[in-house]
Symmetry: C2
Subunit: 326 residues, 2 copies
């Protein structure tokens, strides 16, 4: 399978390194909006192509991985490039998924390609676990917690505050809430009861620290509904201890069975990830394998992780899976 | 969807109660090897039919759930009844799955039916999680732990020991092993390091308790490779505290990513079940829905949980799933 990458940021670099861990895959090209000469791939023999000449890549890419952002890149790019390629993206604006699906589906079908949108861990693996949980325990409650991990959006928001030089925000699930769900207590949880937010801030020289702290804690949509902690640290400490992009989270399904609903069951799925973009890339490549195979079977149009039978994700054959993994 | 049950033991009763939690399903008949008059269903209007007259059920069963045992029932029943019905079983003798699959596949294909074998939680949900884990993190290790829960096979083994009137065995994962795996330490674990076995025994009057304890702890295959604890309790205590059939367990995938494999990731899936047979039944019904739909699309032959796209399990439409669960 020949993989192409569009966009060489954290996610694109994650795809590049993940390709090396999959023997049936090869990275053939990186497509960029920047000057191709400015891109230095870590892999030998990879073509770097300007997005303006993307059609050149058609003959040597089986699946194109779109590594742009959900706000402005993917709504345009995924339907556009589904015309020329089999594509996969990690579109994560939950509310806009139906529209995105429709756009990509039309473009892919019309041109005989297959596409898969909203791949990664949430949406992605977490979505799959929510679906399995609710199908298996129809009477019950879902809970999703995120963290401990870095929220890019909230870190960006901190950095826009006056007097802030650098900042990083960690989303942290509240322990008592996790325990209650895990015990099958089916709690009703407010936003504040589910997560706390912890911020590490490097202030500009002479900045008003009280003002910064207040501006962060009262920021609408981002922080005002949460218990937020703000730590001021030095640039040195920031670079030393907060360079990574860890993340993770939990999906629970808590339900009952029995003639009198007397038996409780708790399903828990959790991720603890040192690198959010590298894990996301790894999920994307497994699903890239799946859609490549489905394309060979004649499937076209837009798919989501819900539409992919697990066997398609593995390089092992059906016989091998049944013998060793069932 | 009209559901039939073959075998009205713990699993069959679990299917009966689970049908009530799925609005698109109806239990139409119970097929039994016993005298049909001896079966008292908990559901009104259910036909009770002798297995000798099973053909009578053909016209009012869409999927037949086979609730027999893996040792002697299912290897015969599943291929046999796949000739007349769409069937689903929970065959769990891992080593014999390939042969069972081949037998069922031939019978189902020849007669235009669909079948799904080895459904439940292990094999079943745990298998799916092992597959997803290894596909997403190709460089890593799998760990499966069972418990805390009742092992039927080990409880049966205890009850065969001389002087034992009644007994129950709990399989318990070792906490230190769980913690080590959860920390991404990728330990190599012996059988003894993974699980302990705890036995609750009601002895016959005048039995030699030391002999019983020794016979259990040294029993080959069942106990000799484990640290085993034996508690002697009264019949009263046994009935009061050990009537349930709880179970559960953990599936981990622990792997690395990055150009230098510098980032660790841990995926954990766990189940905490008050009733093993009721949860197994609930999983079976979700997959019964899936194969019923796939049959309508023209699919025949034997499938496993690996072959079923998650969307088929849910009563919700593709649009609803994308809008609310992705």
């Amino acid at each position: 399978m020949r993989i192409g990458i569009l966009g060489y940021g954290n996610l694109g670099k994650g795809v590049e390194s993940a390709v090396r861990q999959n023997n049936d895959m090869e990275l053939t090209c990186i497509i960029t909006r920047r000057d191709p000469k400015s891109i230095k791939p870590q892999t030998d023999g990879v073509a770097v192509i300007s997005v303006d000449e993307i059609e050149k890549a058609k003959d040597f890419v089986d699946v194109l991985v779109l590594c742009g952002g959900s706000a402005t890149d993917l709504p345009i790019q995924t339907p556009e490039f589904a015309k020329c390629f089999n594509v996969i993206d990690s579109f994560d604006t939950h509310a806009k998924i139906p529209q995105h699906f429709a756009n990509v589906d039309a473009a892919a079908k019309e041109n005989g390609h297959i596409a898969l949108i909203s791949c990664g861990w949430d949406p992605g693996m977490f979505s799959i676990l929510r679906l399995y949980g609710s199908a298996v325990l129809p009477e019950g409650n879902d809970y999703t917690f995120w963290g401990k991990g870095v929220s890019q959006g909230h870190s960006d928001a901190i950095r826009r505050v006056k007097g802030v030089k650098n900042g990083k925000q960690y989303t942290i699930p509240v322990d008592e809430a996790l325990k209650s769900v895990r015990n099958g207590e089916n709690p009703t949880l407010t936003t504040r009861q589910k997560h706390t937010r912890e911020c590490f801030v490097v202030a500009e020289d002479g900045a008003d620290l009280n003002q910064i702290e207040n501006d962060i804690k009262t920021m609408p949509n981002y922080f005002d509904e949460y218990d937020t902690t703000v730590h001021f640290i030095t640039e040195e400490e920031f670079l030393k201890n907060h360079a990574g992009i860890p993340h993770g989270g939990f999906v629970f399904r808590s339900g009952v069975t029995g003639l009198n609903k007397e038996n409780k069951h708790v399903i828990e799925y959790s991720l603890k990830l040192d690198s959010n973009p590298e894990f996301t890339s790894s999920v994307i490549l497994a699903f890239a394998r799946a859609i490549f195979r489905m394309k060979h079977e004649g499937v076209t149009g837009c798919k989501t992780v819900f539409d992919i039978a697990p066997a398609y994700l593995s390089p092992l054959s059906g016989e091998e899976l049944r013998a060793h993994m069932l």
